[in-house]
Amino acid sequence: MYYYKTGIPQVDGISGGLEAGTNILLLAPSMSSAEQLAYALIKPVQGEYSIVLSTNERAAEVVDFFKFAGSDKRFVGVIDAITKSSTPSIVDTPRLMFVSSPTDLTGIGIKFSNMIESIFEGTFSEGEAGLFPPPIRFCVNSISTLLMYRKLEVLYQFLHILTAKQRKIEGVAIYLLNNESFDERTLSLIKQLMTGLIEVKVDGNDNFFRVSGIKGVKAEWLKFTVNKGQVTIIP
């Protein structure tokens, strides 16, 4: 069984990392560094690959985060649901793919399959090979935006398929959802699809997270910062 290191001693030290096939919901309010935390958790270590579905930032901005965090950009792919609406002629590359809007779940599903396929075929990283079978980290940033474009029931069905595929390829995935903007029913329905939960809260100027559903890891609030893609726990 492959374990995905998180860089957080309180997780890696106990469980060895996140078990292959894990789907984690990251519930966070606005302005809580949740996006940085999510990206830090899916930053690929050597031999791994990462894919981000971005409904909030352009692909170039996402890639910049990973470059700044010291990742090899040849192992990072972005499905960008922003840029095409303003630049319709933009063309896909193996690592940067574009869909016209977050409404286009058909396009998002196809681009995700295409990227996974190119990783397995070895055409993703300009001839550089990672591990095989490829460990793939995946981030949906964010479910909140997708919910602005599609109904909860439809998105639930879509995420049901996405989380199942993620399990099949033995990847690990983080799904961001703003817990201030949606009702309890929405949160509870999305939680049903997940194997783990990370909650983030803001107290004054400090950010905290709490992990639950990961074997052996205590569900306690930990104060954190993220700098250059590295999560630091502050005692």
């Binding site: 319709p88 016209s100 409404t103 058909t106 399959s113 396929e117 079978p133 069905q157 099949k168």
Partner: protein, 387 residues
């Protein structure tokens, strides 16, 4: 008839889609099947049909560029009879409609107006957002427009999260004439796409499933592998060689002085819009270990027998048993039928214990037309086979 823009599929449908039909391309999430409706749009415009394209999920510009990337050439709409409703129109409708009923009326009014103004013959629509907004029946009614002559043909693409039960509703509640379901096999890694002709109202077709690849912006239905097997020296290598446009055989001189296959024969041909690859197995029992490997992922088999050698039929029967276990379409090529002392069909059927669905063709594998006829029949058999 309106062509689907995919020759192999048109053939299966008896020439294309009858005018006025209701057609659904149902897509399983993640399957690269957008080219189905795109191919039909390109073909309709090439035939100068007046089209309305409804794109609630994207803009016209983004759609045209996506289609161009998929097809390899930009959709030439200059001077063509084409109108669009896109996601910007949908947003306007949503903003200006206080209730769902008002939005529904606005959609219907726009579609009717465009159909009337442009004498629209084909409406293409991306249905899943409409379905989400209005439900199945009310959503489909929006497309149910009439110009002065006849109802336009309606061709929808739909991202189907609900599986076969939704397809049944399209067929039974909405009386769709053609339903094609586009799916992928997604295991540890995605490995092949296939489409299934689930329903046609104008021809009594059996449910058909056919793999496809995308090549040069075209959907190419393909038969990934047809295995040619049979007892030693029954004429398998000749069969493969005589029909293939390219091929290779690994032979060695046999005890009888003629050559015998010791690894495999390989042949390739493009025919009737199918890319067909042929794998010929060695006939001798000592190579039986190879046969399960060669049968893996095969979609059909030809069993070549020598009709002048009844003593070889127990071996053929064993091979038929191996293939039957895999529930694979097969045909019998009764070779050397131009020689004297040939067996009759009844004798062959009895000796091989064949069921009546398995056809027997009397051929000479040296004659290209005989071999082509066998393959044509097998391809028909495969595309009508219920998986």
């Amino acid at each position: 008839m309106i062509s689907t823009g995919m020759a192999g599929i048109d053939d299966m449908l008896g020439g294309g889609i009858p005018r006025g039909s209701k057609v659904l391309y149902s897509m399983e999430p993640g399957v690269n099947g957008q080219l189905f409706i795109i191919s039909t749009i390109y073909e309709a415009l090439a035939k100068d049909l007046s089209c309305l394209v409804i794109l609630p999920h994207t803009t016209v510009d983004a759609f045209l560029h996506d289609a161009a990337n998929m097809r390899g050439n930009m959709l030439d709409i200059t001077g063509k009879k084409i109108a669009f409703i896109d996601m910007i129109d949908r947003e306007r409708i949503q903003r200006s409609s206080p209730t769902r009923a008002v939005a529904e009326n606005e959609w219907r009014a726009r579609i009717n107006k465009l159909c009337k103004e442009n004498q629209v013959e084909v409406i293409f629509g991306y249905f899943d957002v409409i379905y989400e907004d209005f439900g199945l029946e009310a959503g489909f009614k929006l497309f149910d427009s009439h110009n002065s002559n006849q109802s336009p043909t309606v061709i929808l693409e739909h991202l189907n999260f609900e599986g076969d039960s939704l397809l049944t509703q399209f067929i039974e509640k909405l009386s769709f004439d053609l339903v094609i379901s586009i799916k992928a096999s997604f295991g540890k890694l995605p490995h092949f796409n296939f489409f299934t002709i689930v329903h046609t109202s104008w021809a009594p077709l059996q449910k058909r499933s056919v793999p496809f690849i995308i090549s040069n912006g075209r959907i190419v239905p393909y038969i990934p592998k047809i295995v040619v097997t049979g007892p030693p020296e029954s004429g398998k290598s000749t069969f493969v060689a005589s029909v293939s446009e390219r091929g290779q055989s690994v032979d060695r001189s046999g005890l009888s002085g003629s050559s015998t296959t010791v690894a495999m024969d390989f042949g390739w041909l493009h025919w009737k819009d199918f890319d067909i690859t042929l794998y010929g197995t060695p006939g001798q029992p000592r190579f039986d270990l190879l046969i399960p490997m060669l049968l893996k992922n095969a979609m059909g088999a030809v069993i070549v027998i020598d009709v002048t050698k009844p003593e070889s039929l127990p071996r053929a029967k064993h091979l038929i048993h191996l293939i039957s276990e895999r529930r694979m379409p097969m045909v019998i090529a009764a070779n050397k039928s131009d020689l004297p002392s040939r067996m009759t069909e009844a004798e062959i059927r009895t000796a091989l214990a064949l069921n009546k669905e398995i056809p027997v063709f009397f051929i000479s594998s040296k004659k290209k037309e005989d071999v082509r006829f066998v393959l044509e029949s097998l391809v028909d058999f495969i595309t009508q086979f219920s998986y």
